[in-house]
Assembly symmetry: C3
Homo-oligomer: 363 residues x 3
């Protein structure tokens, strides 16, 4: 039994432990930590299940499934937090997921891949398309934020309406990027696909019913653990001396994206950079163009209106992350120093969010 499997089983134990911690009232801090750890193996299982079902469904439907359920863990945590009224934490975790995927995941992948391989290459055209799509996402969250910043008297109603309109455009754009990558220009993405298939050679005929069951059970368990996590979040983080902003931007996304981290780094070390970047950048794009707008619409339905008016500092963080990630990825080559620069940018942002003073709403 590999170390990876043992770790998986140990982490699974945190599911009952976190539930016990909740009902036996062991304190919010312990609930928060154990629920956070319990989500890790569930997220990994959901990822595996989604990929297995995708193999059965074939490239088109399977691709769609991957594209919509790829960030299911984050979506569930966010919906639970939104229902609990923690709108600022949800926004912060969107910010943090984008930053984390572009800087931490891509940075680690390029660094660890680069330590083994002098220079790694990937499709520059795909990198540029992703850059352009991420620029659009930055524009989308920039506009409501800039509007509120430059014209402070603006009503919440207007921000809501603008955010809804923006959300609809983003979801349409996301659908079109899928059409592009899976249909009209799939040849550009062939390298990555070929690698994915190579990885899946071992398991030819996954059992659809088994994996659907796994997906269902894990989704339910993630939802439960998310409730525990969200309920204990405020007390636990204040005990740790952390602000809700830091928790939302740094801690929650690390829990939600752990599976992507592992995958992106593993394949990068095998010199499969196209696949590695498609996981890291693809996950960022999915958050920005799909998860965030879906949350705006879901919030509207729940009566917990969420707009896309981020705090100016979060906006700055997302904008600089996209900028440096684009600069580094646009030439289709990477090395260990480029990975280090991304990680250094992540560290700087981490420091900044750690020191950021408590302000309006986000406490």
């Amino acid at each position: 039994m590999s170390g990876k499997n043992i770790l998986f089983l140990v982490l699974l134990l945190f599911i009952p432990v976190s539930v016990a911690a909740h009902f036996l009232e062991w304190g919010d801090l312990i609930v928060f930590i154990t629920a956070g750890l319990a989500i890790l193996p569930l997220a990994a299982s959901m990822g595996t299940a989604t990929e297995e079902i995708a193999v059965v469904l074939g490239p088109t439907l399977g691709g769609l499934l991957n594209a919509t359920f790829g960030n299911a863990t984050e979506l569930i945590i966010a919906i639970v937090a939104l229902k609990a009224g923690l709108v600022d934490v949800v926004k912060a975790s969107i910010t943090g997921s984008i930053i984390g995927n572009l800087l931490l995941v891509m940075g680690l992948a390029m660094l660890l891949g680069g330590l083994r391989h002098k220079e790694q290459t990937f499709q520059p055209i795909v990198a540029r398309m992703n850059s352009a799509a991420m620029n659009l996402a930055v524009i989308a969250i920039l506009l409501p934020t800039a509007m509120n910043f430059t014209s402070p008297g603006i009503g919440e109603k207007t921000l809501q309406n603008l955010s809804l309109a923006v959300a609809v455009v983003l979801i349409l754009v996301y659908a079109l990027t899928l059409l592009f990558s899976m249909k009209t220009h799939s040849y550009l993405y062939d390298v990555g696909v070929a690698e994915t298939e190579a990885l899946e050679v071992a398991n030819h005929k996954p059992n659809m019913w088994f994996w659907s069951g796994v997906l269902l059970v894990c989704t339910l368990l993630v939802a439960i653990e998310s409730e525990l996590l969200v309920d204990s979040l405020e007390v636990a983080t204040s005990k740790l001396g952390l602000t809700a902003l830091f928790t939302g931007v740094i801690l929650v996304p690390i829990i939600g994206n752990a599976a992507e981290h592992a995958t992106a780094v593993t394949v990068a070390m095998k010199d499969k950079m196209d696949l590695s970047l498609s996981v890291a950048v693809g996950s960022s794009m999915q958050i920005a163009l799909f998860v965030a707008p879906v949350l705006v619409i879901v919030g509207k339905i729940f009566g917990q209106p969420m707009d896309l008016d981020f705090s100016p500092f979060e906006l700055v963080a997302v904008a600089v992350s996209v900028l440096i990630a684009n600069t580094i990825s646009s030439d289709g080559k990477s090395n260990w120093l480029e990975g280090t620069l991304l990680l250094a940018a992540y560290m700087l942002l981490g420091f900044a969010f750690y020191f950021y003073p408590v302000v309006d709403g986000i406490s």
Copy 2:
């Protein structure tokens, strides 16, 4: 007779109609709409006349003529609006022309061209030079705006002086870009020129006097229609429930740039992307490096001082437009999704300007 010609003749009818609407007092809304429609065929005719005269004058003088009269319609509308004291509308229409050319025109060209041709290519060096020049233009309008934003007590006199100094630098830079593209490095632009010539094979010896007359008559008529348009603008747009900002940024530039739109899209569908981009980006550059600084100087002469202190939100809009257009064009390749991303960015900006609250001066 082609549909295009019929449309042209029908639109010409709006010249007498708009004049009648004005003198018979049919209401500002009708004057505004008919004058706007009347400008379309006049702008197209001015474009044709300028190109025909340019053929007679030869590449150098003709190129200069194109480079200075290419945006004559917008310049005339802007000067009329400036004389009428609508400084904010003029600034908004500069913003809107830059955005419209980079996002709407280039986006439509890449989308419609890309639907016919899987991948279209153009000179990446030219694209990069244009990117750098547009970055300079962003810096030029950023500095007065940032100065006013970060140091609110600054006097209007200082902004005026800074704007004049900036305007002189920009006009010099514009002259040098012409020297570069027409003299010292014209070989980089040869592809586009060859295409232009191919288009003009049919009409070998244009009649200089005829086209000069056309240019003169059209210029006069555009000036008259611009007066009607500007006089009726405020009442008409408020009847339509639109702010002056939205009108200036979205509506006026669409009227002023209709000819460029048609040309850029038509040649893109014929896979002549170098020509298409030189129309779209070239027009943006001309607005930013020539029209805007000329307006600053003209405003000084008219005693209607116009500075380059744009509203922060307009600045954000121009900056993000340049950013995404640069990202998409810098590799010298385009496809339908890239066109879609530009159009989506334009839609997002359109929404934002639609929802932007009425503020100081611009009402």
Copy 3:
């Protein structure tokens, strides 16, 4: 005797003149000008001495020496100014050194090189690595500034702590870029190194002791002249009608960087663009990733705490300089118009700093 040598000897005369001006009380303006001129030949001699010693020490140790003492003049001026409590002037001169190297030095090199050679080329990978590193530097100074701007109540203590943390990360990143360029990926930089060697063919065996003595004497003299410069700075510049901001951003860096200017332009005219850019961009990187963080730490030790909270306008200036320099250098090609665009950007920034009103602290 060449004109260059005569100029050198004439400038050396300003050392005794400036000292005399100080003790005989000829007025602050004369002290300021003569001390500024006296620093020029000393900076040049320090540069020569550092390179000669580097030849003796061999590529690794010599590279390290160059990398740490390359901006010794600026570092000495800054430390003297910091001790005198002129924190804002120090910050302004950091801003100005980055801007000056990226726009003025690189612009002049590309313009004058481009007037002789139609198109000049350099390693695009190195240009991109440098771009990414400069982006990181922008992020580093952006975060404290943005934090203070978006959350005005923030304590100076927090800004200090954040700045110290940022400084440590930057110095680490700088060390890693040296490891990358001198050890793991030195082949990428071979072109530049080969050129450097070719330049040094004439002087095979420099006398280590002689040049160490030169370095020591010049360092002492630079420190003395810096004292004179800093002491007379405030009175002298106000007599000239200049603000401390303009002096710090434009004047001081021109004095401190004169040697780099001369080298970068000279080698560009010999079509050695790799070397030229490594001087210009390398000097910017050194200021941003080494000198600025060292000053933060030195300030802490001196009890003259310097944070990285720049004025928003300085931040804007650095950000746009990095942006346009990256756009122009990222393709590994240059021509005279690109040089002109950089110089135009420098002129625009110069105007802006000239007109910038006197505000808080920086008077």
